[in-house]
Amino acid sequence: MLKFIIKRLINLIPTLFIVAAIVFIITRMIPGDPASVLLGPQASASDVHRLREQLGLNDSVFVQFIKYLNDLIHFNLGQSFAYKQPVLTLILERFPNTLILTFCAFFIALLVSIPAGVIAATRKGSWMDYLFTVTSLFGISIPVFWLGLMLVLLFSVTLGWLPATGMASSGDGALAFITHLILPSVTLSTIPMANFSRITRASMLEVMNQDYITAAKAKGVSHFFVVMKHGFKNALTPILTVAGMEVSSLLGGAVLTETIFSWPGMGQLIVEAINKRDYIVVQGSVIFLAVLYVLINLAVDILYKVVNPKISYDTKGGK
């Protein structure tokens, strides 16, 4: 097991290197002089010159890349111009809020989708299954930013039940905290909810067709027991893989959801930074989220191995 983890960690290095390279290449694609773009049209020539020095723009591209990697290894994501703070400090301030939001959305998604997927699979072809298919396609097709606005319109503007935007501060109490959290997390949960339930249904259907399920049924094991113990337990592995990949759509969705609900997380930070043309913050946040995604998927791989020790990652060219 330890050997497996070490091997996976070594495999991580080229991926992280490429992630860094992609961000480096994209930011170097900014047309014109990055220093004057960063500082905006009002910047004086001496400011631009100082920033060029600071960013190392007078070095060759290769030297710039090495310096950039060196900074990343030392967790130095640079200094924000608009916020006058280190980028990492800004990110660490906002990241816990994004974590709360995505965690709640993830939880809501699992809570709804797994029972729904299991029920749809066990009643394949019924009106419930049909309803399920349509609803899950609705979930995939609905734009989260529109859903968010419509929920605000219904529950905040019209009914006045829930606050429209913002996050409760520590002095507001638990109730305010929860009421502020409901609309954004429900909004964000729709896409993973639809994807989870579809994969749950598919993998349950596959498992329920296996011989050992028929055997268990023939032995007179109760329907519920067959479904939960023999069926669901074995259908878990593909669900787990999708859960890891779903982190990506959750983080992407968080950017839009946070903008709608003025939720003070990383997504809002990125959008604010774009509007302020603070590319250093954008660059740092994006690389932070990408590395986070890679690490979460590593954790999922390891968890996968714990759940199902037979799985081998040694086969070359596997998916």
Binding site: S141, I142, P143, W146, M150, S248, G317
Partner: protein
């Protein structure tokens, strides 16, 4: 004595029969038919936009601002500049469909070529290409598009390019997987021994055998691109006002959610319905192409 062209005749018949079976499966699937109808309707609206819209979508009239649906001949009301919301949504369909198809063509072309090369040649070429795709996968799709837009700048062409590039890793992975499977087939070995070159093999024999999954993902990819364009325009990075796009109509309507909720309601509905259409149709295509893998 069998006539010399008998073999190709039966082959042609078999192909036709397979196509018929595919079409029958597709058209007995009610959801897929509903999806196709929605897609066709939106396409017609986009093509005939100038004949359907009664008003100039960019013409402002401050005296006519924030009218409710049905007032003064404005079917879906007006926005804060007095522009007709229905006309803006109708013309917005052009942008959405153009970006949807364009982004899939751009992403598909690059992704398919990379996937073909990667799967066909294997070895270090495959490793390098797939590691780069893994790296791109680490960025949430919309975030990659957002970052590319901040670098490229707003505008229709750049929106297509940004969403297209964000689509490349998925296309290349799908095609690579298919190539790995098709490569093992006997007919590839036979064709090669008959003297076919790599280029011929790849584009004439392997690619056509990968078309099923490409078409399915392409259809779903259009849906994804429509949502992404709307998201980028909603964030102010995509299509810039006064040019109408469903995303920027939604963005502008957001400030008037309390007084004129119809602006957001209808523009979002347009995004939702068109995306649903492509997803329903794509889902149906997948079932019809391979009934075993129904998800």
């Amino acid at each position: 004595m069998v006539p010399p062209n008998a073999l190709s005749v039966t082959k042609g018949k078999r192909k036709k029969r397979r196509e018929n079976l595919f079409l029958r499966r597709l058209f007995t699937n009610k959801l897929a038919v509903v999806g196709l109808i929605i897609v066709v309707l939106f396409t017609l609206v986009a093509i005939f936009a100038p004949f359907i819209a009664h008003f100039d979508p960019t013409k402002m009239d401050v005296n006519d601002a924030l009218q409710s649906p049905g007032q003064d001949g404005h079917l879906l009301g007006t926005d804060s500049y007095g522009r007709d919301v229905f006309s803006r949504i109708v013309f917005g369909a052009r942008v959405s469909l153009f970006v949807g198809v364009g982004a899939v063509v751009v992403g598909g072309a690059i992704g398919i070529i990379l996937g073909l090369i990667s799967g066909f040649y294997g070895g270090w070429v495959d490793s390098v290409i797939m590691r780069i795709m893994d790296g791109m996968y680490a960025f949430p799709f919309i975030l990659l598009a957002i970052v590319l837009m901040t670098v490229l700048g707003s505008g229709l062409g750049n929106v297509i390019l940004a969403i297209g590039i964000a689509n490349v890793p998925t296309f290349s992975r799908i095609v690579r997987g298919q190539v790995l499977a098709v490569k093992q087939e006997e007919f590839i070995e036979v064709t090669r021994s008959l003297g076919a070159g790599d280029f011929n093999l790849l584009f004439k024999h392997i690619l056509p055998n990968c078309s099923g999954p490409i078409i399915v993902y392409g259809t779903m990819g259009i849906a994804g691109a429509i949502i992404s364009e709307a998201a980028l325009s909603f964030l102010g990075l995509g299509i810039q006002p006064p040019n109408p796009s469903w995303g920027n109509i939604l963005q502008e309507g957001r400030d008037y959610l309390q007084v004129s909720p119809h602006i957001c309601l209808f523009s979002g509905m347009a995004i939702f319905l068109s995306v649903l259409g492509f997803n329903l149709f794509g889902d149906g295509l997948r079932d019809a192409l391979d009934p075993k893998t129904r998800v």
